[in-house]
Symmetry: C2
Subunit: 219 residues, 2 copies
DNA sequence: ATATTATTTTAGATATGTCTAAATTTTAGC
DNA sequence: GCTAAAATTTAGACATATCTAAAATAATAT
């Protein structure tokens, strides 16, 4: 149906729409996909012809309903495979993203639904991200990034924004994992770094790290 | 490392070398891969430059050691994924080949070795084909095709040469499965068709079908 | 409001993998 | 051994997906 490149662009646009609102810009996509803006323009034209995005020259793009559904199907596959790798093959959560980037492009509705059943219909992937169902329905996880938390507030780490090996290894090293209760004990105005406290230890994290940690039950 | 197209050619050449002896011809490869001979020539040149095949113009190709090992690694992945699909996801043996054609190209040594362990190191895939180990070692299954059996001889069906959905569905319909004991009760000289007998029924199969059924303990 | 800068698009090139049609080489028939 | 047929290769084209450099457009700053 769609090529791997097309599927990857749709996924990227989906995520960017979520993070930055609609009308995603060419440069933003190029940044995320590590390609040049000219390549992005070429692809946006192709996607527009296939009715996967609405594209107006110089104005950025927006996913159509078909585009959004296609993106969600790829995301569903990605996250189910990540669950499989962690739960069944005993991978660590920092090792699965790159492999899932490949597996998500395997074409077979039956395969992914059987995998879903085998895993007993998980709702979240190893990084705390919700798994869309067969129809592309996805639970909105209204979690809060640490950068939106006030001094002294607490919450439970439920997801990470960045699933890269490097970031997750950093969290491993700092002894941070999903489910941990965190408290913001200081915010440094100079560099916007955060001092946080868990049940077992305290640590300082940069603003960049803080942005990628998502919490629930923030009080 | 290698592209999907390259991996597929190597696999095809490996199988053809086995079935027809070395120095595989351009047309033979084109037939198997459903491409044109001119495309095959182009690819053979590329594979030769990468030292995966020995290629002499107009003389066909032969895999190098690297080429053979690469082919075996892809075959290992293909067959392990087929095991996974049948044993864990409850696919039928006639549904898995096409999906495995995609999964076999996923790149990760760790993944395939963890999958191997998860499946408890199977020796045979759902079609009776041996699974190469990590080093590319493969058990030679000296099975006999029905076309090489004498009138009145018996044997146990242990593998099929053709793993296509159409052929396996034909076997399902005819109530033939791996493990069945067969006896050749008649050979029709006119069209080389075979009359065979199982524990439960008798049937007539064409020479083409007979060729694709592999037996052991032939007496 | 105009100039400068940043963003985006176009034009033209490259790499992969395929094709058709034509040329070349090998094989087989006599 | 020569000729016709078959097999193989070459030449040139096309589709996808990427790039660089240049041109066009939009945003911003004075
Ligand atoms: Mn991921
Ligand atoms: Mn994930
Ligand atoms: Mn197969
Ligand atoms: Mn098989």
């Amino acid at each position: 149906m769609y090529s791997q490149a097309e599927e990857n662009y749709l996924k990227t646009i989906y995520v960017l729409e979520k993070d930055f609102g609609d009308d995603v810009s060419t440069n933003l996509i190029a940044g995320k996909t590590k390609t040049k803006p000219s390549s992005v323009t070429d692809m946006l034209k192709k996607l527009a012809i296939k009715d996967l995005v609405l594209y107006k020259k110089y104005q950025g793009v927006k996913l159509t309903e078909t585009g959004r559904l296609t993106a969600l199907k790829v995301i569903r596959k990605h996250r189910l495979w990540e669950c499989f790798l962690v739960q069944k093959l005993n991978f660590n959560w920092d090792e699965v993203h790159e492999i899932a980037e490949q597996l998500e492009h395997v074409k077979s509705e039956l395969l992914i639904n059987k995998l879903d059943a085998f895993l007993r219909f998980p709702k979240l992937d190893p990084h705390g991200d919700p798994i869309p169902d067969e129809q592309g329905r996805i639970i909105k996880n209204q979690s809060t990034s640490i950068i939106d938390m006030k001094l002294g507030s607490t919450g439970t780490l439920v997801a990470v924004k960045d699933s890269s090996e490097t970031f997750l290894r950093y969290l491993n090293k700092k002894n941070l994992a999903l489910g941990d209760k965190l408290k913001v004990i200081d915010i440094e105005p100079y560099d916007n770094s955060y001092h946080i406290e868990t049940k077992t230890h305290r640590l300082v994290i940069t603003n960049n790290v803080a942005e990628n940690l998502l919490l629930k039950n923030v009080k």
